[in-house]
């Protein structure tokens, strides 16, 4: 995948070789500075005050008492804060008004920002913020998400809300085997290790934001529009990011920091607490999904219906498009899908790792497992019999669909052929044992990006791109891509990222970051190499070329472009205590060319471990009376610990994307897809009980044993 140029010998590719993180030493020694750690002179600290009611109006704020407290510089609220513009369309559509803080007296959910207290120290700001008395006019609220909510309606979002072909009821009636089941997933939160943090300051008429985000130019675009600024007069830097998972775009704290820096004309930092993150950064909505499958006795689908309901806030429509996965995975003569939402008095949900696919694959892949059981067919064989040859809804060809190869390789390595399909017949002491599998897919895409490549007289190169390394290893991956493009060892390439001054680029999201950036880096590097081949001397300031992939990306022909994978899990269940332990997992992926096997494996494993959490642990509980979250910290909100993570293997098969200049598809999200279904299917195989509500908590396992065979 290198650009061979006359006169320069082709080096062995760096892409595809394992490379430790370039900034790894800085991170483990603490030398890497995160957004809240960058020092500023004259820095002031802002602390957000959040509403304690779920719906109503602010009647008054007793700011005088707070302004008299030690160190307090200002209190911003809806009466005195700068006005912002929200009537615009950003990179991801209309902005969630949640980020437009202090513009009115309405309170649409518990945890809504009602004021920012700014003080000389963080402790003073916090003490004053927690002392601020806010008087509300409270109104009745509704935060209860339930599958039969009467106010649900379909929403077109990143995909159409509803698709349909064929007569569903007739096809179900004509089916030898029918599965009709409802699945639920709970409210889930991103919880990146690094809390959101931003420092805003004006520097010679230019606004600079030191931030933790998933896309510097993305955040810049929103801030410029919100504050009606020339984009050229805004700079956003985000060098190191401790996780994002979809939550790190423009949020209340950055906007509040800019407001305060503007009012006070000094640098202002706003950092969120873990508890505040449960209200302010978005989350994954709970879902209720109904899946109906009808098949012939040989397992071939005649009918497929996948309907999903998710929640959104009263101020913004966000849909968790769980039914979308059925539009990719399986075809049937009668094929109907729908994503609906209900508006509740809750914060607006947002993109969270594998939006749609993560909860959708749980419902669909569990239903397919139930169908396999009813048909008496091996669940892998049933899936292979239903492999579509074109997009079930779009009718477009697949640009590489190597799902069957993933299943074959996975089955071989997992020992699937020896599996006894009967449930509840294997025991190891107090543990019942079972295995399960599920399919995975996630869209593969690229978005226009720009990059520059500079050749220096000493033979080294600098590549600049406004990419974000949110823990994925993107900085290292781009270094390998640049090295190949420039035909040099990686040690001679310095990749700089996380600065909006480097020009527009895709954000780290949609599993599209590394692919989109690599495209631009490859183009810039290739062009620079051609310039250098002309033999000109390199001046002290170097020779720089810029790439822009807009035209090339726009020329991609329409196709069903996805990564695929096969997930396998073995679980042990003690039905007398309700404990479920995953004993081993295997994921085999067809996800394009793998740039850096070391960090790629980490991403796959991380996704699969998140799948363990999704299956067994993660759940945010919303208190009906107050409307707020209960136990909003990492002691109350459980993710898998090391002790929950068994021997896990992730591997991949050759799947180079012919339509991408580097061969990449994107791996950021597919690791979690299907993982929860594989575990739930294994729990059925162990116990004979279908758990259709996540997470599979001990109390659910215990209660299921006492009651019906379904839970």
């Amino acid at each position: 995948m290198t650009t061979a140029t006359t006169g320069i010998p082709v080096r062995p590719a760096s892409v595809g070789t394992a490379h430790t993180r370039i900034e790894g030493r800085d991170k483990v020694t603490g030398a890497a500075q995160y957004a809240a750690e960058v020092p500023f002179t004259d820095l002031a600290h802002g602390w957000l005050v959040l509403s304690t009611i779920a719906r109503g109006r602010i009647r008054a704020l007793d700011t005088d008492a707070v302004l008299a407290m030690p160190g307090v510089l200002a209190v911003l609220d809806h009466r005195n804060a700068p006005r912002v513009e929200t009537d615009y369309v950003g990179f991801l559509g209309k902005p969630d008004p949640t980020c437009a803080v202090f513009q009115h007296d309405r309170v649409p959910h518990l945890g809504w920002p009602v004021a920012l207290v700014v003080a000389e120290t963080s402790e003073q700001a916090r003490e004053a913020a927690e002392s601020l008395v806010v008087h509300y006019e409270q109104e009745p609220h509704d935060v209860e998400f339930r599958g039969d909510h009467p106010d649900a309606y379909p929403v077109d979002a990143i995909m159409p809300a509803v698709t349909g072909k064929g007569d569903l009821e007739a096809a179900l009636a004509a089916s030898a085997v029918v599965v009709d089941a409802e699945y639920t997933t709970p409210e889930e939160h991103h919880n990146p290790m690094e809390p959101h943090a931003a420092t805003a300051h004006w520097d010679g008429g230019r606004l600079e934001l030191i931030d933790s985000n998933q896309g510097a130019t993305w955040v810049l675009g929103d801030l410029a529009k919100l504050f009606s600024l020339d984009p050229a007069s805004v700079r956003v830097r985000s060098e190191h990011v401790g996780g994002g998972f979809g939550s790190k775009g423009v949020r209340a704290h950055q906007v509040a920091a800019v407001m305060a820096a503007t009012v006070l004309q000094r640098p202002v930092r706003v950092v969120l607490t873990r508890r505040q993150m449960f209200s302010l950064i978005g989350y994954r909505s709970p879902t209720t999904q109904r899946v109906r499958l009808g098949a012939d006795a040989d397992g071939r689908l005649r009918a497929l219906e996948h309907r999903s309901l998710s929640a959104t806030s009263t101020v913004h429509e966000f849909v968790e498009p769980s039914a979308g996965v059925a539009r990719v995975m399986y075809d049937a003569g009668a094929h109907h899908t729908a994503n609906r939402v209900v508006r509740l008095d809750v914060p607006t949900p947002t993109f969270m790792r594998a939006p749609g696919e993560a909860p959708g694959s749980f419902a669909l892949e569990a239903a397919v497992d139930e169908l396999a059981e009813k048909c008496g067919i091996d669940p892998i064989e049933l899936r292979l019999r239903n492999e579509p040859d074109k997009g079930p809804v779009s009718g477009l060809p697949f640009s590489g669909r190597n799902l069957a190869a993933c299943f074959r390789e996975g089955a071989r390595r997992f020992g699937w052929a020896d599996r006894d399909p009967r449930p509840a017949v294997r025991r190891d002491g107090r543990w019942l044992l079972g295995t399960g599998t599920a399919a995975a897919s996630f869209p593969s895409g690229a978005a226009p990006s720009t990059a520059t490549a500079t050749a220096h007289p000493d033979g080294t190169f600098t590549v600049r791109i406004s990419a974000a390394d949110i823990g994925t290893g993107a900085r290292t991956a781009l270094t390998l891509v640049a090295a190949d493009a420039l035909q040099v060892p990686p040690e001679r390439v310095h990749v700089r990222i996380g600065d909006s001054d480097f020009g527009p680029a895709m954000l780290a999201g949609g599993s599209m970051g590394t692919r989109s950036w690599s495209w631009a880096v490859q183009a810039a590097g290739g062009e620079l190499l051609e310039r250098l081949a002309l033999g000109t001397d390199i001046p002290p300031e170097g020779i720089t070329v810029r790439s822009d992939t807009a035209a090339a990306v726009g020329a991609l022909t329409p196709a069903e472009r996805h990564s695929f994978g096969a997930q396998f899990a073995e679980v042990a269940v003690d039905v007398t205590t309700g404990e479920v332990r995953v004993r081993r997992m295997l994921g085999i992926f067809a996800a394009g060319r793998i740039v850096n096997p070391l960090t790629a494996r980490g991403q796959f494993l991380g996704g699969m471990i998140w799948g363990i959490s999704m299956a067994l642990h993660e759940e945010a509980v919303r208190d009906r009376a107050s409307g707020g979250p209960v136990g909003a910290d990492l002691a109350g909100y459980h993710v898998a610990t090391h002790a929950d993570v068994p021997r896990i293997e992730a591997d991949w098969i050759e799947d180079t994307d012919p339509d991408d200049p580097v061969g990449i598809k994107g791996i950021g999200e597919i690791g979690i897809v299907g993982a929860a279904a594989a575990i739930a299917n294994a729990v059925w195989h162990a116990t004979g009980v279908r758990h259709r509500n996540l997470p599979i908590r001990p109390d659910r396992v215990l209660s299921a044993r006492a009651g019906a065979p379904d839970a």
């Binding site: 304690t52 402790e123 916090r126 003490e127 927690e130 508890r275 107090r430 007398t576 205590t577 309700g578 404990e579 332990r581 067994l616 642990h617 509980v621 208190d623 009906r624 009376a625 107050s626 707020g628 209960v630 136990g631 909003a632 910290d633 002691a635 109350g636 459980h638 898998a640 610990t641 090391h642 002790a643 929950d644 908590r697 001990p698 109390d699 215990l702 209660s703 006492a706």
Partner: protein
């Protein structure tokens, strides 16, 4: 966060004098619970008296076979002590079942007894809570309570005590020693925690201004054959949804002695005295174990979402006693 003063004490009398029965002052041990509560605003002390330098960090065997554990012994040191592991294995197992290695190296024995509940309403200062602000109500009863009490709760509070260590201590008749300005005192752990009643904010019988100085475990041969089993919603680093410390002495198929205490079922570690009465003198078989569990659980008053704990506790009692009896027979 409220500003606070920090002082360090170097002997017991000095610590007690520094505290001076000031309601705005707290002793600081490992700080693994107190500092969290200060960050969340549940605790707002004006002053901290650091007691980690006190000479209370030893574990000593007395000639009568009792074990004296100093109040500032870390959880990690307690679990690693050879005498504890040999004579009270359930205690070592209970400590190791809690928190993480880092936390256990900080947390102290005295502080562990005084841990506050992790009820999500208690730890959120924007919510009502009778334990935190008397008279404001208990939202858990109508709200989220799937890990709340089934025994000994009241209409005023249904929170559970979070300690694993204290469950094992309760099974082995531990005695708590403390010092006050008027001199030393002691109280059996069985009487240390107050009933919930209508005063859930009053948790222990410790006099105002008292400093816990240590714990004594009286000799208990049965404890050498003991076990702690903890059930939680993940494999590590989570509070129990149900736990059991049990010791069993079986001879000729008959239970000669038994100690049982339950965790995560009540506002305090719950000594299962009713179960012990059924066990002692009865045949060591599953029927006896079920009867023992049911005798204890007869008083259970589960809420709509925590009834599973009744089944869980019954299953735990049967499983652990069966294991202990089978091992004794080998």
């Amino acid at each position: 966060m409220r500003e606070f003063e920090y002082q360090r004490a170097f002997d017991v009398a000095g610590a007690v004098a520094l505290l001076g029965a000031d309601p705005d002052t707290r002793f600081l041990g490992g700080g693994t619970n107190l500092v969290d509560l200060m960050k969340s605003g549940v605790e707002r002390p004006a002053r901290l008296v650091d007691i980690r330098e006190l000479p209370l960090d030893e574990i000593q065997s007395a000639p009568d076979g009792s074990l004296r554990i100093g109040a500032t012994v870390t959880n990690g040191d307690l679990a690693a002590h050879p005498e504890v592991r040999r004579r009270f294995p359930a205690l070592a197992q209970a400590v190791l079942a809690g928190a993480s290695g880092q936390l256990r190296n900080m947390a102290t024995v005295g502080g562990n007894l005084l841990q506050r509940t992790r009820c999500g309403y208690f730890t959120d200062v924007t919510q009502p809570c009778n334990k935190r602000v008397p008279g404001t109500g208990c939202p858990a009863i109508e709200g989220e309570h799937h890990n709340h009490a089934i025994l000994g709760a009241s209409g005023h509070c249904v929170a559970v005590h979070p300690s694993d260590m204290a469950v094992a201590l309760a099974a082995f008749d531990a005695v708590v020693h403390f010092a006050t300005a008027d001199g030393p005192g002691e109280v059996p752990l069985a009487d240390f925690y107050l009933p919930v009643g209508d005063t859930p904010h009053r948790e222990t019988v410790l006099p105002a201004g008292a400093l816990i100085t240590g714990i004594t475990l009286p000799p208990a041969p049965v404890a050498a054959h003991s076990r702690y089993r903890k059930i939680r919603e993940r494999a590590s680093y989570a509070f129990a949804i149900g736990s059991l410390a049990a010791a069993l002495d079986v001879q000729d198929g008959v239970v000669r002695d038994a100690r049982l205490a339950l965790g995560a079922v009540a506002s305090r570690p719950w000594r299962a005295a009713a179960a012990e009465r059924v066990l002692i003198g009865a045949p060591a078989d599953a029927e006896t174990y079920v009867a023992a569990a049911d005798a204890e659980l007869a008083a259970a008053r589960p809420l709509p979402h925590n009834g599973y704990k009744v089944d869980l506790v019954r299953n735990l009692v049967v499983a652990v006693l069966t294991e202990l009896a089978e091992e004794a027979a080998r």
